[in-house]
């Protein structure tokens, strides 16, 4: 059985756990804990180690989805999760510009050493005051060839679309 891996990252509360829950075939394995420190002000439960979801592709191939913890103090997990990944989805809470800098730090971490295919998902587009993908591209200073996609992590079609767009990037780089 061959396994391939994709990583879903982003700042605290971006919607990583939700994104994986929406598409995974198994109940997502999350290590949620009652949030402590500043995170508590935004939400009750936060991911402390990772989220794990799975999609079986065929009898001999399975896609693993890993969500990173959002809080800074779990950075050490990122390196481990990033090892050998096929591609990366960076989720952004489009309603919270205060997380854009942190998002850039995360992109830097994953992308500066490796040439990882990635897309950015402008999440929570269903909410009022969401910054549009175009505006997020400007705010995050992403070059034109990086896809910035609209996303609503609670909506399955939307999550599918983000994964497919990432797969198209990976496809371009794959060999015949």
């Amino acid at each position: 059985m061959q396994t391939v891996k994709m990583v879903i990252s982003g700042a605290v509360n971006a919607g990583k756990t939700e994104f994986i829950r929406t598409i995974s075939e198994i109940e997502v394995v999350s290590t949620e804990r009652r949030a402590t420190d500043d995170t508590r002000l935004i939400k009750k439960e936060t991911t402390v180690a990772m989220d794990f979801g799975r999609i079986a592709i065929s009898d001999d191939l399975v896609l693993h989805l890993f969500g990173t913890p959002g809080q800074k103090r779990f950075d050490f997990m990122w390196e481990i999760l990033a090892e050998g990944m096929l591609g990366l989805v960076i989720l952004v809470d489009s309603t919270r510009p205060e997380t854009f800098r942190e998002t850039n730090r995360i992109i830097d971490f994953f992308v500066s050493y490796r040439d990882t295919p990635y897309v950015i998902a402008a999440n929570k587009q269903d909410r009022p005051n969401a910054w549009s993908p175009d505006e997020l591209r400007l705010a995050l200073r992403q070059p034109p060839h990086i896809k910035v996609l609209p996303c609503t992590a609670t909506d399955r079609e939307s999550v599918k679309n983000v994964l497919l767009e990432l797969l198209y990037v990976i496809q371009e780089r794959s060999e015949d």
Partner: protein, 270 residues
């Protein structure tokens, strides 16, 4: 949809840069305690900055000494008569009440001073309303004002490392121009120290080396480079990558196209 945020988290310089790069048209409303400000943009350039509601009124031209009260009354009548997209400033010029240079420099000076004051705000809520335009009789700059140098001016007022570290995490990074610098530079009105830094950027030296060669502090070098970054002129790269230019980047696992296609088909069918 309006863009909403706080300049504590997404600084005014960053916002101006976004307006510039996105050729945005609209109005930026800022509030900090009992202070307010309103900036109008057209295609990424600044038309007017008002720190008080009076600054959006025709009387500003009298306060700035461009017109006297009689001339203003006459200009307002002419504006009402012409209507249809003509600006007050255009009417003033057409009537020969002031030279274009005199009018532009008075309005530009006022607008710039208004924006400089905003950089002192430690925080403030902002709302950017797309396509909101100033009133027809507002005293708009004759030629919309380029905001490159306002961005730079905002960056000059940064006095703490923390802000700069967001984008410049280490002085071992190498600044490199994205394209031959040109147009933008003209508008930025660099200080002598900033020119020194600018002149030392060669795509090979690290920030620390530039500091050493220019005799400037790490902070001053990084702040200038932060300004160039905000204006979208530079990127920062790691030393190794520069040395390894021409070599392939770290190997990613290369997948077979057929395998990727299988995953694509599976997700499509979900």
């Amino acid at each position: 949809m309006a863009l909403v945020g706080n300049i504590r988290d997404f600084s005014l310089s960053d916002f101006l840069s976004l307006v510039d790069r996105g050729y945005k048209t609209g109005a930026l409303h800022l509030t900090y305690h009992d202070q307010t400000a309103r900036l109008y943009f057209e295609k990424g350039k600044l038309l007017l900055a008002a720190r008080r509601p009076e600054d959006e009124k025709p009387e500003l031209l009298v306060r700035l000494g461009v017109l006297n009260a009689d001339q203003l009354a006459q200009a307002c009548r002419a504006l009402a008569a012409r209507g249809n997209g003509v600006t007050l400033s255009q009417v003033v010029i057409d009537a020969g009440m002031a030279s274009p240079e005199r009018l532009q420099s008075a309005l530009m000076g006022h607008t710039e001073q208004s924006v400089y004051g905003l950089f002192a705000w430690p925080e403030g809520d902002f709302v950017f309303e797309h396509n909101q335009r100033p009133a027809p009789d507002a005293p708009l700059a004759l030629t919309p004002i380029s905001i490159d140098h306002l961005i730079m001016e905002g960056v000059r007022r940064i006095d703490e490392w923390e802000r700069i570290r967001d984008r410049i995490p280490s002085t071992d990074l190498v600044p490199r121009f994205l394209a031959p610098p040109g147009e933008k530079l003209k508008g930025m009105r660099l200080s002598p120290d900033e020119w020194k830094v600018f002149a030392r950027i060669n795509g090979r030296d690290t920030l620390a080396e530039i500091a050493q060669k220019t005799g400037l502090s790490d902070f001053d070098v990084c702040r200038a480079v932060y300004g160039f970054l905000t204006a979208g002129m530079l990127e920062l790269v790691k030393r190794q990558r520069v040395l390894a230019a021409g070599m392939p980047p770290v190997e990613q696992p290369r997948l077979k196209k057929s395998l990727v296609n299988r995953i694509i088909n599976r997700i499509r069918s979900m």
